[in-house]
């Protein structure tokens, strides 16, 4: 049982910073997924925890014990590598027993524990084979077995599923989740696959260019992304991000741009009649998930599809009851996913993807009007990319960043 704490860890390679002042705390029994695009430093961070890479700055603690200078073998952590790193000259049994032999356990004890692990992983029939005689899935199990046999405090996994085919990956994903539930051990798992992150993790840490963007349960990371990067990384297709201005209109805040007029559901009491005119507009990134956009009409008749004034007119005409048309665009391409359809629409000078159950009736060239529930809109600061929240201050009428702007 291990709790892993990373304190302000930085790792530099020459002039490049692979991991940049990352701090995180993995509670005992947690399943933490380090998620991010390739080159974001997630593997380096995992290797730092494992003791394979020394941090340039910062500390690593396991159960509140500072292990920054402890070699890998003294940390009570097991690791599963992307390539599995099975010893090619040893049989499956000797591969699994390798960590135990390194710890000079008695031979009978080694054999007993290898047998147990092999039973659990259904490898008993393969114990005398060598790694090159195994399939990818079997190799993956042996690598898992070599980690399990040590009964370590925590498991570190570096993209363990990336070499498996899609079907096997899904099955193994379930098995690892099952394993985590049964063992109640701490898992730290590196992946660039958001499906793995969403399905397996109890908490997800999203990394970008060496920095920690957000850490939280999968639902929170998906539903309330802390930055435009997280919003644009998660989801398939990811969240639509549109450059827009937040303005006052009819006692409400609206995000507007060419073809975009989205009410944000934030009522602003008008203090004086000329107040609205005097407010400076704030530049933001407006985020809307593709599945939260609804088609209100395919509006083939609409000629001024990308005309903002038309959108405004439609919005004010429809009033508060019924779906409010928030975006107008033209379908550029349509993808059929079987159960769903994704339409990529040109809205203003940007592109918006819309996800809908089939048959949604999208056709290339159609003009579409889209609506969104104000509660399902997200705002991000244009410069820093951080999430913006509305704080009803007595004075400023413009939303301010909850998180201090980081450069």
């Amino acid at each position: 049982m291990s709790r892993i704490t990373v304190e302000n860890v930085t790792r530099r390679y020459g002039g490049t910073t692979a991991v940049d002042a990352v701090s995180l705390d993995v509670a005992d029994g947690d399943f933490l997924v380090l998620l991010g695009p390739s080159g974001c430093g997630k593997s380096t961070l995992l290797r730092t925890i494992a003791g394979l890479v020394a941090p340039s700055e910062g500390r690593v603690l396991v159960d509140d014990r500072d292990v920054t200078d402890v070699p890998a073998r003294g940390r009570d952590l097991a690791m599963v590598f992307q390539s599995y790193a099975l010893y090619p000259h040893l049989t499956v049994a000797r591969n699994i027993g390798f960590p135990l032999r390194a710890r000079r356990l008695r031979r009978a004890e080694v054999r007993r524990r290898v047998g147990e692990v092999a039973d659990a992983l259904e490898l008993s029939a393969l114990l005398d084979r060598r790694p090159r005689e195994l399939s990818g899935g079997q190799r993956q199990r042996v690598a898992l077995g070599r980690a399990l046999v040590r009964d370590p405090g925590a498991f570190l996994m570096d993209e363990p599923l990336s070499n498996l085919d899609a079907q096997l990956r899904t099955a193994t994903r379930t098995e690892i989740t099952e394993l985590h539930r049964r063992l109640r051990r701490t898992f730290v798992y590196v992946t660039h696959d958001q499906v793995e992150a969403m399905t397996m993790a109890t908490s997800v840490a999203v990394l970008n260019r060496g920095r920690l963007e957000q850490i939280g349960p999968p639902t929170e990371v998906y539903d309330r992304p802390a930055s435009a990067f997280v919003a644009g990384f998660l989801g398939s297709p990811p969240m639509n991000l549109l450059a827009a201005e937040v303005i006052h209109r009819d006692g409400q805040l609206h995000a507007v741009a060419a073809g975009v007029n989205v009410p944000l559901g934030i009522a602003v009491p008008r203090r004086s009649p000329d107040d609205a005119a005097g407010e400076p507009a704030r530049s933001v990134l407006l985020g809307i998930r593709p599945e939260h956009l609804r088609v209100t009409s395919s509006a083939a008749a609409m000629t001024a599809a990308t005309d903002a004034t038309a959108a405004e007119a439609a919005a004010s005409a429809s009033g508060s009851d019924g779906p409010v048309t928030a975006l107008r665009g033209v379908v550029r391409t349509v993808e059929n996913l079987g159960s769903e359809e994704i339409a990529y629409c040109v809205v203003g000078d940007g592109e918006v993807s819309v996800r809908a159950r089939r048959p949604a009736g999208f056709a290339v060239g159609d003009a579409v009007a889209l609506a969104v529930d104000p509660g399902q809109t997200h705002l991000f600061d244009r410069e820093s990319g951080r999430r913006l929240v509305w704080r009803p201050d007595p004075h400023p009428a413009v939303p301010s960043a909850r998180v201090p702007v980081a450069t």
Partner: protein
């Protein structure tokens, strides 16, 4: 009412015999057309005299034959001196200067003469000791140095490596005299140890093994570290077992080099124990002038252990040299 298999609207896909409907005409006729086309192509190829490439983009047969003939000639040129050595050694003493390709009548008198005049067993033993100890020492130092260079990062690594490789470029003649003086001071002249000790480090070995170790999967080394092995035990339990092919190949190369070494033993062993290469040389300077029969016989015998070694480990040698790294 019955359930029927849906028929695609656009008619039957051609050449699908299991589809219901018209079982006949267009499909078969199309096949026949295909067959004649293929036959035509074959006939064309036959007319071209079989000179076309077997594989698209491959070489033509003529080129292949020319290549093989050239290689065969080169092979003969390489093998001929060895063949001539054994032929000469098997001629009668009075036939030694004959130029017949086959030595006839056969005679072993050269061999008995060589065995009489030289203590071949003693020479063979000395050479074996020198060759095995030199090669083993070189292999061990190369392995340790290459492992350090390939796996560890330390300040001055590049410079040290360049220095190491640089010693390979220094000609033997430059180090010969200092080594000789040092051996004299150590009192190792005229002993087999004097032949072995200055040669236990081979820059070539470090160079070759480092190439192999650089392509050794790093994750294996990391896995061993996680699994609780230190650097030293990782070397022996993970690296060496997976490097056997390269180590065998290098070992044979070093052994053959040490076996054939002439100049350095000739300097160190002016009195006292001798090695094969020196003993054979004795014939060239003997009182009766060039004594080709026993000379070739002794040389032929000296080659046999190397041939045997090569035959036994041929597969490893080829693997080790052809593949630049581990798979």
């Amino acid at each position: 009412m019955a359930l029927v298999i849906e028929t695609p609207a656009g008619g039957l896909p051609a050449g699908n015999p299991s589809a219901p409907g018209d079982p006949g005409g267009p499909v078969t006729s199309e096949r026949a057309a295909g067959a004649t086309l293929a036959e035509g192509a074959l006939a064309e190829a036959a007319q071209a005299g079989g000179d076309g490439p077997d594989v698209p983009g491959g070489r033509s047969r003529t080129m292949t034959i020319v290549g093989h003939v050239a290689l065969a000639l080169l092979g003969i040129v390489c093998v001929f001196p060895i063949y001539w050595m054994y032929t000469t050694s098997l001629r009668r003493p009075q036939d030694v200067y004959k130029l017949t390709v086959l030595p006839w009548p056969l005679s072993t008198s050269s061999y008995s003469q060589a065995l009489d005049q030289l203590d071949l067993a003693r020479l063979m033993l000395n050479t074996t000791i020198v060759a095995i100890l030199t090669a083993a020492g070189q292999l061990l130092t190369s392995l340790l140095a290459a492992y350090a260079f390939a796996v560890w990062g330390f300040p001055g690594k590049r410079l040290l490596y360049l220095g190491f490789v640089g010693t390979w470029l220094v000609p033997f003649q430059v180090t010969m005299l200092p080594n000789y003086v040092l051996l004299h001071q150590l009192g190792l002249l005229n002993s087999l140890a004097g032949v072995i000790v200055p040669n236990v480090v081979s820059a070539l070995g470090v160079l070759l093994l480092r190439q192999h170790l650089d392509s050794f999967p790093k994750e294996l080394l990391e896995a061993a570290r996680i699994d609780g092995r230190g650097s030293w035990t990782t070397l022996w339990t993970v690296v060496v077992p997976n490097l056997r092919a390269a180590l065998t190949a290098l070992g044979i190369l070093l052994l053959v080099n040490a076996w054939n070494e002439y100049f350095w033993p000739a300097m160190v062993l002016q009195r006292g124990p001798s090695v094969l290469q020196l003993g054979i040389n004795g014939y060239l300077n003997s009182a009766e002038g060039d004594n080709w029969g026993p000379l070739t016989a002794a040389a032929g015998l000296a080659c046999l252990p190397i041939f045997a070694l090569y035959l036994a480990l041929q597969r490893h040698v080829i693997n080790g040299f052809v593949r630049s790294g581990l798979r």
